[in-house]
């Protein structure tokens, strides 16, 4: 850590008086990507303190879950993280399947892997665009959106919706995929692999981009553990932790993929980790598409689920990190208590520490690099 210029300036000015001021960032501000409000205490261009204010999008999702049957809750899951709706679908169906001990046919598992990894890529592409937009570059945003659009088209053809998917069912998926979909997915993998080098040409090697990101907002391993940050931000600090690898769920143990990690823990490390994760997701999809077996896509599951008494915790890796769904059931059609441990919330918790003593522009860059989805934080 370098010495904090803001505090040194403040010490020298202390006899004259405190010249700091409060800047209210949000809840409607182009830099916060949603209804996040940050009360920033500033001294000139330096941020002395940044206090996030949450809850503008609070919808009581956990309470709603207590009054819904298990299948009625499924569409609500997609509304929490609208950029990775399938991961949330997956977390919910896997938790309920674990609780009720339902079998899932192989083909359904493969379909889930293909679609959820496509969703992960689309989420990372959107982050890439939005992060670069925070740094002031507009072109990468639109190019990433053009590529993401193709994923949305692919997913639309199997799930029927473009953003808030509700495709998985307990014990399988809603409907089977066609061979032409698999062909299109293979074409897309080829297409995106050809496109990714141009992303690196435009951004990764850019001098201004490197000046703006390398070493900015660095997180140490111990801080990362203390604040419970997850996902690419955790992996950016050098800790190789990925739920898909460390506690494999679904059929992830059948695929070969690497868990990319960074070294510095700064914005650039997060950027590199996410860009490599796109490539790893492409590898997983490619393996899944080439080895997908024939067979049923749904096992026999009663229409209205009555879960047995008990409790279950299910962790999945969303694009933003580890999501834990915790369900307590006392029997009956509805859960007794539901708790979601969402990745964006814990990733935001370190923001205040990172922001102190930085320039305002860096603070918004750091905020962008955390890849926050506000409805997920507010729930």
């Amino acid at each position: 850590m370098t010495t904090n210029p803001a505090t040194t300036i403040r010490h020298s000015l202390e006899p004259i008086g405190d010249e700091s001021f409060i800047l209210n960032l949000g809840p409607q501000h182009p830099g916060t990507h949603g209804v996040l409000r940050i009360i920033v205490k500033m001294d000139g261009e330096y941020v002395l303190d940044a206090d996030p204010v949450l809850g503008y999008g609070h919808r009581m999702q956990e309470k709603i879950a207590e009054n819904m049957t298990y299948s009625q809750m499924l569409p609500y899951m997609a509304r929490m993280d609208y950029l990775a709706a399938l991961s949330y679908n997956q977390a919910w169906v896997c938790a309920v399947e674990k609780l009720c001990e339902y079998e899932v046919p192989d083909r359904a598992e493969y379909i889930r892997i293909i679609t959820v990894e496509l969703n992960r890529i689309s989420s990372h592409l959107l982050w890439y665009g939005a992060f670069l937009l925070d740094l002031g570059a507009f072109t990468p945003f639109l190019q990433a959106f053009a590529d993401r659009e193709k994923i949305l088209d692919l997913l639309e053809s199997v799930t029927g919706s473009r953003l808030t998917y509700c495709y998985y069912r307990f014990g399988g998926v809603f409907q089977d995929i066609t061979d032409s979909f698999l062909c299109n997915v293979m074409d897309y993998i080829k297409y995106l692999r050809e496109r990714l080098p141009s992303y690196h040409d435009l951004v990764s090697g850019n001098v201004i981009f490197q000046h703006r990101t390398s070493g900015i907002g660095a997180i140490t391993c111990s801080d990362a553990a203390e604040y419970g940050v997850t996902g690419p931000i955790l992996r950016g600090t050098g800790i190789s932790y990925d739920v898909r690898r460390n506690e494999p769920y679904s059929i992830y143990q059948r695929f070969h993929f690497e868990v990319p990690t960074g070294e510095t823990g700064g914005c650039q490390a997060r950027y590199t980790v996410r860009m490599q994760e796109i490539e790893q997701s492409l590898n997983i999809i490619e393996q899944a598409v080439t080895t997908i077996p024939d067979g049923p896509i749904k096992s026999k599951v009663p229409k209205i689920i009555k879960a047995p008494e008990g409790e279950v915790a299910m962790a999945v890796e969303t694009p933003r990190g580890e999501l834990v769904v915790y369900i307590v059931s006392r029997g009956g059609k509805t859960p007794y208590r539901v708790k979601f441990r969402v990745p964006s919330f814990s990733n935001l918790s370190i923001f205040q520490k990172l922001a102190r003593g930085k320039l305002l522009q860096d603070v918004l860059g750091i905020l962008g690099s955390l890849d926050l989805v506000i409805p997920e934080i507010d729930r």
Binding site: F21, L23, H29, P30, G31, E45, L132, L133, D134, L135, G136, A137, F138, T139, L142, Q143, A146, L202, V203, N206, I208, F209, H211, R212, L359, L360, Q361, D362, L364
Partner: protein, 325 residues
């Protein structure tokens, strides 16, 4: 005498209208160029290929409600956009579009343009101050620091040109340039040209130096509180500023109105092509680069560009004394 004055006024009106038309279509040009660089079409709805878009924009902005913040310092708030636009437009007066065609071919043309572009920066600072908004204020402060720093780099970058041409008069510079061995100063003054290109982007607050505006941090910077036609005045000021800077670049480094061959009846063609090339450069940079950080911009200006420009002045002096004399 009276006829002369009337003729000058007529000339001013003609140049003003032509410049305004060019400004309007510079926005269209920008949106099209950047659009195609960003895998989209740009404006397509108003008129064939969106050709009437700038006019529609103008009409829309003109009829918008004139909103101002209650706590704003009103006289300053009203004056700021006018200062910006007037300072930018006044610079047009000394630019020779072709041989003998300048509204006022004064001896210190180059100095006059530098002075006027500083004044435009003053308008930005005042706007940030008068809005009484923290975002606008931060934008204004950034603008003042940035414009002062890059003014120096820009001034120094064209000192080499002044030394080679031996004049501050724009027409004289072009004429001296035409007689020089390369025909343009961009080759012997390559360092100066580079510093000028960077300083030109900073001077007009364009990406990657769009600190005063930077929409992802300061919402819209100094013009956050401006709406309707007052906002349009800033916008016009910025685009006129771009045309002025491109013209200065054309005259000082790219040979002004001279070209590889004479074009009868349309002597402005070379000048226009070169100016539009530089304006395209503005857009190209905007579509490619992310934004610099505020302190990095300052460091770039003071630690890289000003030493480079100074070195160029010394180099030019040595060359002029010992080699080219």
């Amino acid at each position: 005498m009276v006829i002369e004055i009337l003729l000058t006024i007529l000339l001013i009106v003609v140049v003003f209208s032509v410049i305004m038309l060019h400004v309007a279509y510079a926005t269209y040009f920008e949106r099209k160029v950047i659009g195609h660089m960003q895998v989209r079409m740009g404006p397509m709805r108003v008129g064939p290929h969106g050709l009437l878009q700038p006019i529609a924009d103008g009409i829309k902005l003109f009829f918008k409600e004139d909103v101002f913040p209650e706590t704003a310092d009103k006289p300053t708030f009203y004056a700021a956009p006018i200062i910006c636009l007037v300072a930018a437009l006044t610079s047009i007066a000394v630019i020779p579009f072709w041989e003998g065609m300048a509204i006022s071919d004064i001896n210190i043309g180059l100095l006059f343009i530098l002075a006027m572009s500083s004044l435009a920066g003053w308008g930005v600072v005042l706007a940030g101050w008068a809005s009484n908004s923290k975002y606008a204020f931060l934008g204004g402060l950034r603008a003042s620091a940035q414009i002062i720093s890059y003014e120096i780099a820009m001034g120094l970058s064209i000192v080499g040109v002044m030394m080679m041409a031996g004049s501050l008069n724009m027409s004289e510079i072009v004429k001296a340039q035409a007689q020089s061995p390369f025909g343009i100063y961009a080759i012997p003054q390559v360092l100066g040209f580079f510093v000028f290109l960077v300083a030109m982007l900073a001077e007009t607050n364009r990406t990657p130096f769009d600190m005063p505006e930077c929409e992802s941090e300061l919402v819209a910077g100094y013009c956050t509180e401006y709406a309707g036609f007052r906002f349009a005045l800033f916008f016009l000021g910025e685009y006129v500023g771009m045309i002025v800077m491109a013209s200065v670049g054309t005259i000082c480094f790219l040979g002004g109105w001279t070209g590889p061959f004479e074009v009868p009846f349309f002597p402005i063609i070379w000048f226009m092509l070169k100016v539009y090339f530089l304006i395209f450069f503005f857009y190209w940079v905007r579509a490619t680069l992310p934004r610099y950080r505020y302190d990095q911009i300052m460091a770039l200006g003071w630690k890289v560009l000003i030493p480079l420009a100074l070195g160029n002045v010394i180099l030019t002096g040595i060359m002029k004394t010992f080699v080219w004399h």
